[in-house]
């Protein structure tokens, strides 16, 4: 019997060619490259100090336990006090939540006004705002210290919230303006004919349509403010230091034994909040960034 000649018919067969193999190999290497440090952190944090001293960082934890985690949260020493990270955690919450709310509230109104209620000089105003997002923070630190001191909020929670709200403004305004600019302008016209005013259109029409971009703004701000170290250490005052500052104090303490397992646990604990946010909302994040980037 002769072999039947295969003529092309039906669905095209899926063949794995050399380019596929190379592609997947690179992806696997990239994944290992990023996952390995994470493995080391988690493994080390679960080890006891004896095993840490053996020095094999890739070893599987033999007597796995959460002792280091508990110590990092509850009793690790940050400078003079030995109350763990929990103090910093609550301070970070107190700083992050109001900062996120205030900055998003103001930026969404800014973006809405700039895309729909054009006024004389609104383009100039927008340009100045955007330039603001390109200037390195460090340049403005000293003047800001003086400004907050004059306002009487230096070294207080309102002080650091004020700073975070201001620095979130340029990028968030850009985000919201671009999102609103991509919505059909006829919606705005229809609402005006229907007699809705500035706030009516904002709250009844625009805000309910802004869920995707609100999610993006929340992710950006929560992670940004939670991870911030510089503003926290300068503007919050010693009694209000956020988690990141306390983490630094634990890890960089020069007295006693280097407790690598506690340091690793403390670092994971601090990074847990932004990590959780990314895991929950990664999908929205990508979608919203794309949505906000359509129009310049």
């Amino acid at each position: 019997m002769t072999k039947a000649i295969v003529t092309p018919r039906g669905a095209k067969p899926n063949r794995i060619g050399p380019s596929r193999i190379i592609l997947y190999s690179i992806l696997v290497v990239a994944a290992v490259y990023y996952l390995l440090p994470l493995y080391v952190m988690v493994a080390t944090s679960l080890k006891d100090l004896d095993q840490v001293r053996e020095g094999n960082i890739f070893a599987w934890p033999l007597r796995a336990g959460f002792d280091a985690w508990i110590k990092a949260w509850d009793t690790a020493c940050t400078g003079l006090y030995c109350e763990g990270l929990k103090v910093g955690f609550w301070k970070s919450v107190q700083i992050t939540v109001p900062s996120v709310l205030v900055s998003i509230a103001i930026a969404s109104i800014n973006g809405y006004a700039l895309s729909y209620w054009r006024f004389r000089g609104s383009e100039v105003f927008f340009t100045i705002l955007i330039i603001g997002s390109f200037i390195p923070y460090q340049v403005m630190l000293y003047p800001l210290v003086i400004i907050t001191r004059e306002l009487g909020i230096f070294g207080t929670l309102p002080g650091v919230i004020f700073i975070h709200s201001i620095f979130g403004m340029p990028i968030l305004t850009l985000l919201f303006r671009n999102y609103f600019a991509a919505l059909p302008v006829e919606l705005f016209k229809a609402a005006r004919v229907d007699g809705a005013g500035f706030w009516g259109i904002f709250f009844q029409i625009m805000l309910p349509m802004s869920i995707p971009i609100l999610v993006v703004a929340i992710i950006l701000q929560v992670t940004g403010i939670w991870n911030d170290f510089l503003f926290g250490v300068i503007f919050a005052g010693t009694q209000n230091w956020p988690m990141t500052v306390q983490l630094n104090n634990i890890v960089n303490s020069t007295q006693g034994v280097k407790e690598h397992n506690v340091n690793m646990a403390a670092t994971i604990l601090t990074g847990l909040v932004p990590l959780t946010i990314y895991f929950i909302s990664g999908r929205y994040f990508v979608r919203g960034i794309a949505a906000g980037a359509v129009k310049g």
Binding site: L187, A190, R192, D194, G195, A196
Partner: protein, 365 residues
């Protein structure tokens, strides 16, 4: 200001920066009139509509609605309702809340809101849809809701900004008739912007054909079709477009139009202006494809000629035929059942009285 007019626009000027879109625009629209603003994109028709609605800032001039100067008034205070091309329904509200949004903003009492929403949805037959969201509606239903939103406001003037352009051909034809019925029932003033000449011809009491921010001709569909004031209007209205033949008009006892081997006696043509005795160069004679006579009918016409069929486009009800006259491509419409082929020799003719002539400046003569 006269009470007979629903809308009066005096010396309107609109400009974006240095670019002047409308200038010295004057327009009076009678009570209950259906006026269509027709033109190619960029001619200023939507700009004019947005000015009437109060959605665009004007540079100069005034706008009166129902004898009231509304030039500086907000859109909501002008007594207008507007329907947009993209429907512009509020996506997160139900149909019912979409309809009542304007009334709730105006602080209308609840039972009155209910009554008007019920009435509008009955007229437009959207009662079963009241609790749905816009995303759950088809294109035609959405546009009906958009019309309903203008309807509930109980206004004197309806503004339509290309309301049917986003719909497919069949729905467009259906809704076109519905809009006409609606106008006959409500009898209020409607201004309708479109680039679709069929919509303009079928709906309008009067059509304003715009080009480059100027109204070329403001007249009834009948006059615009039969007596276009210039070559642009003649070419814009009518599908397939009018045939244009360039040539010379020789005056005499019987004026004669000549072009190449063509010689058309224009004795029956009603000149719209008295011309001198001089010969006019650069004259254009326009004949609509549907006014061209064919076969036996052509032989009795004041002008007839034998031509060779070049292309045949059968469309069912009728057939469009392309033929060459000298080096000019000439199209005419014949009855759909005629079986013509490429290369057939046929006799065509026309009555010059049904044609249009334009001088070198493209103005009707």
């Amino acid at each position: 200001m006269s009470e007979n007019y629903s809308i009066e626009i005096n010396d309107l000027k609109v400009a974006y920066g240095e670019v002047v879109v409308l200038e010295n625009m004057n327009l009076s629209i009678e009570n209950g009139e259906f006026l269509v603003l027709l033109g190619a994109s960029g001619c200023g028709k939507s700009t004019l509509l947005n000015c009437i609605a109060g959605l665009l800032d004007i540079r100069d001039g005034e706008i009166h609605i129902k004898g009231r100067n509304v030039t500086w008034e907000e859109p909501k205070d002008r007594g207008i309702g507007m329907v947009f091309q993209s429907y512009a329904l509020y996506p997160q509200m139900s149909v019912k809340r979409n309809l009542s949004f304007g009334l709730r903003n105006a602080g209308v009492k609840r039972d009155e809101v209910e009554r008007r929403v019920a009435q509008a949805s009955e007229i437009l037959q959207i009662e079963p849809l009241l609790n749905r969201r816009p995303a759950e509606l088809s294109g035609g239903q959405r546009q009906r809701v958009a019309i309903g939103r203008a309807l509930v406001r109980d206004v004197d003037v309806f503004l339509f900004d290309e309301p049917l352009s986003n719909l497919d051909a069949k729905l467009r034809a259906d809704l076109r008739v519905e809009i006409k019925r609606l106008h006959q029932r409500l009898e209020n003033t409607m201004i309708y912007v479109t680039h679709d000449q069929i919509e303009a011809m079928t709906l309008a009491d009067r059509i304003a054909i715009m080009r480059g921010g100027l109204i070329q001709q403001l007249d009834t569909p009948y006059h615009i079709y039969n007596k276009p004031v210039n070559k642009y209007v003649a070419g814009f209205i009518g599908s397939p477009a009018m045939n244009f033949i360039e040539g010379t008009l020789t005056m005499g006892d019987v004026p004669v139009f000549t072009s190449g081997s063509l010689s058309v006696p224009m004795g029956e043509y009603a000149l719209s202006q008295t011309l001198g005795t001089a010969t006019m160069e650069g004259v254009t004679l326009g004949i609509r494809p549907e006014h061209v006579l064919f076969g036996d009918a052509a032989k009795g016409a004041p002008f007839s000629k034998e031509v060779i069929v070049e292309v045949v486009e059968p469309m069912g009800a009728d057939t469009l035929v392309w033929a060459m006259i000298d080096d000019l491509s000439f199209r005419f419409r014949v009855e759909g059942q005629l079986q013509l082929r490429r290369g057939d020799a046929v006799t065509i003719g026309f009555d010059p009285a049904r044609g249009s002539m334009f001088d070198a400046d493209e103005t009707r003569i």
